[in-house]
């Protein structure tokens, strides 16, 4: 469902609208189906009633015609004379003629003794027929009857009328019967309009015959059309002489059918009539289709209109809002949205404008504050530079004029004077280093430390200077300076003066604290990192002091005993190493010595040579 969340507002509303329309459509269709179902049932039962009435009328007409015809033949003079003569040829000739004209299926004539005079149509021994004819002979009156008889292994239904053949004088000369078989053709002739109407004769739970318009003929016997089975209870009731039209429709092949069961004569044969409600069904389908089409059209139209309205009322203003907001992100804080109304969108726009004003105001004051801060940084830097200059200039005179006197440039001096003046020089140098350290620390804390980066700083060269300086500082102490330095250290990208400052600081610390033994300077490279270590055999540092020594203005007890310093040298050295992307750390064993390490990247990508810019 993520795509739906990311879809546009218009699309989401369209989906919502379609859903609502879908529900409406569904309920309408359901209503329509149930209504048309009732309609079909109503129309269906009317049609079947009508059809049943027609069929019943036809059937009784057939029966009456049979009776009329059989009496008509029996009372014809040439016929009863021929019967009276017992002339087989004469009787046969006449009934053959009658059968040809009146299209009966079977005609039999017997004489007064029951002997067969003529057997036309269905030929052969038919005991039930013979019996009825003998009854006619005895009773001397017309009998109409429905017979079910065996013929060639199958059963058939016979509609039969008999009449006595009576002479002019009133003597019964014989009997005649006319029969129609209720076969497929016969059933088909019962319908007023054979389209969509089917009939079948049921006897003892199965179909004896069906109307010819049932194609293809069902293969299962107890079924009139495919999927339509007999309801035995209804058939039984119809056998009792009742015409039954059930309310329920039967669905076959997806088409609803109305059904009727009617008795045939006084026999136990039941005729089933089916009426196909195809037209109504098709009408229903068409109506449904039309409804759906209209709804779809309505949906498309509504979505279109809604989208257009929405685009005008909401989507366009929201897009404007977004564009303006994006411009504001890009720094154009003076952008405002035109407010077009007081609806939610209008309120959003004016609220947005208020927010934009607030942001703009804040941005302006932030800008001012930033400029103020930059200005004060510049002032601070200028002050520090000026301080450095103003302190160093008099020291230049103090230190060097004194040195001239010590060195005898101005005339002879005695040993005591040299000693005192040397104290002046040493104090002056200490003051100078204090000034340097305090200024460096101020710059580091103000964040205004700037490196002068060169691409090819020779660490070998720097370490040579450091070792020379160390030897100078150790004058008079039984301490040996050892160098274990890879003679081919790679040139590094760094500020040479600052790196020298770090190394000198470590060296001067080692010299200060080591009274005897060795100071070992080693240097090596490993994986683009150059590490210098200064190891001494001094008193060492207690574990709890190991981090203390890197805090500004903090000194260990030993440090204080060894003649002070500012307590700034190591914090500055560590900051300078960090400014190069390097590290400065210490390991120490009290009583044995201390080792300081400085590792620096050989070619740091963070550092850019100053002159190359």
């Amino acid at each position: 469902m993520r795509w739906l969340r990311d879809a546009g507002l218009g699309f989401k509303l369209s989906v919502l609208l379609l859903l609502v329309l879908g529900v409406l459509l569904f309920s309408t269709v359901a209503l329509l189906i149930s209504n048309t179902q009732d309609l079909i049932e109503e129309v269906g039962s009317e049609r079947i009633t009508e059809e049943v009435r027609i069929i019943q009328r036809r059937l009784s007409e057939f029966e009456r015609e049979l009776s009329v015809d059989v009496n008509f033949i029996a009372s014809s003079v040439p016929f009863f004379q021929a019967v009276g003569r017992r002339s087989v040829s004469g009787v046969t000739e006449m009934v053959t003629l009658a059968q040809a004209q009146l299209s009966f299926d079977d005609v039999d004539v017997i004489d007064g003794d029951g002997a067969v005079l003529a057997d036309v149509g269905s030929v052969g021994d038919e005991p039930e027929v013979q019996q009825v004819m003998l009854q006619t002979l005895d009773a001397g009156e017309t009998i109409a009857v429905v017979l079910i008889e065996e013929e060639g292994g199958a059963q058939r239904v016979r509609l039969m009328a008999t009449a006595p053949v009576v002479s002019a004088t009133g003597n019964v000369l014989g009997a005649i019967q006319l029969s129609r078989f209720m076969d497929a053709d016969f059933l088909s002739t019962l319908f007023f309009d054979p389209q969509g109407v089917f009939a079948g004769l049921i006897y003892e739970g199965r179909f004896l015959s069906r109307s010819t318009n049932i194609t293809p003929l069902p293969t299962v016997e107890a079924s009139l059309r495919s999927n339509i089975n007999l309801d035995p209870s209804i058939v039984e009731r119809a056998t009792g002489g009742e015409t039954i039209i059930p309310d329920a429709l039967i669905t076959a092949n997806g088409i609803p059918h109305a059904a009727a069961y009617l008795p045939v004569g006084a026999s136990s044969v039941v005729m089933m009539v089916l009426f196909e409600l195809d037209e109504i069904y098709a009408f229903q389908n068409t109506t449904l289709l039309n409804t759906i089409l209209i709804f779809a059209l309505l949906a498309v139209l509504t979505v279109g209109v809604l989208y257009a309205v929405l685009a005008q009322l909401a989507i366009r203003p929201i897009n404007t809002l977004r564009t303006i907001a994006q411009k504001m992100i890009g720094g154009e804080y003076d952008q405002r949205i035109p407010v077009t109304g007081h609806d939610e969108i209008g309120q959003l726009a004016s609220t947005f404008n208020q927010m934009a004003s607030a942001v703009q105001q804040r941005e302006t004051s932030l800008q001012a504050a930033r400029e103020q801060a930059e200005r004060s940084d510049q002032v601070k830097s200028a002050f520090l530079a000026s301080m450095s200059h103003e302190l160093r200039t008099p020291l230049n005179a103090v230190l060097n004029f004194t040195q001239f006197v010590i060195d005898g440039d101005t005339g002879p001096v005695n040993a005591e004077q040299v000693e005192l003046l040397t104290e002046v020089v040493n104090s002056g140098k200490h003051l100078l280093s204090l000034i340097n350290d305090v200024l460096d620390m101020s710059k580091i804390e103000a964040g205004s430390l700037k490196l002068f980066i060169e691409d090819d700083v020779s660490v070998n060269q720097l370490l040579k200077t450091v070792i020379t300086a160390g030897q100078g500082l150790l004058a008079g102490k039984p301490v040996e300076v050892r160098a274990e330095i890879d003679p081919n250290l790679p040139p590094i990208r760094a500020d040479a003066q600052r790196i020298l400052q770090i190394y000198l600081n470590l060296m001067s610390n080692a010299c200060k604290f080591t009274d005897s033994g060795t100071i070992t300077v080693s240097a090596f490279t490993q994986a683009n990192t150059l590490t210098v270590a200064v190891a001494d055999t001094g008193p060492g540092i207690a574990p709890e002091d190991l981090e203390l020594i890197f805090e500004p203005f903090r000194q260990t007890t030993a440090g204080l005993q060894h003649g002070g310093g500012t307590g700034l040298g190591l914090p500055i050295a560590r900051s300078l190493a960090a400014a190069h992307g390097g590290k400065l750390w210490v390991t120490s064993e009290p009583g044995k010595g201390t080792t300081f390490y400085v590792s620096l990247p050989v070619k740091s990508q963070e550092l850019v040579p100053t002159l190359a810019v």
Binding site: A385, H389, N396, N400, D409, L449, Q501
Partner: protein
């Protein structure tokens, strides 16, 4: 050192001037040492010098024109092509030194100067080496 080089020093601080005078003329016994005390008529005075100085030490914080402007004027002269021009200043904060390097000074000596190493440094400057002696 067959021939003693001529040296020029421009400095407005009288004590610094006296110090360099004692060092260059007194201790190092250089015969041609000129010390100018301000930058006002600097150019005309430089042009009048004979012999032309081989090494020039310039203070940076001077009025009316500072060391950078003086360097620029010197660079515009033909005879300064072989001249070593070194800043001698108390302004040795890092960004100031960076600026000195960028404009093309041949080196920088920080005040206070180191008397003990100065003669050696001077010879190295004369030999064409660029010396940045900032840390004392």
């Amino acid at each position: 050192m067959n021939e003693q080089p001529a040296v020029l020093y421009v400095e407005d601080d009288p004590q610094s001037r006296k110090l360099m005078q004692m060092l260059l003329t007194g201790r190092m016994r250089l015969p041609n040492v000129t010390i100018l005390e301000d930058s006002e008529d600097f150019l005309s005075k430089v042009e009048a010098l004979d012999p032309k100085p081989k090494v020039i030490f310039l203070d940076i914080h001077m009025k009316p024109i500072d060391g950078f402007a003086m360097l620029k004027l010197l660079h515009d002269l033909d005879w300064t092509k072989q001249t070593r021009i070194v800043a001698l200043t108390a302004s040795v904060m890092n960004e100031e030194v960076a600026q000195l390097r960028q404009v093309g000074f041949n080196g920088c000596l920080a005040k206070p100067i180191d008397l003990a190493t100065f003669p050696d440094t001077f010879q190295r400057i004369l030999a064409g080496e660029t010396v940045w002696r900032i840390i004392s």
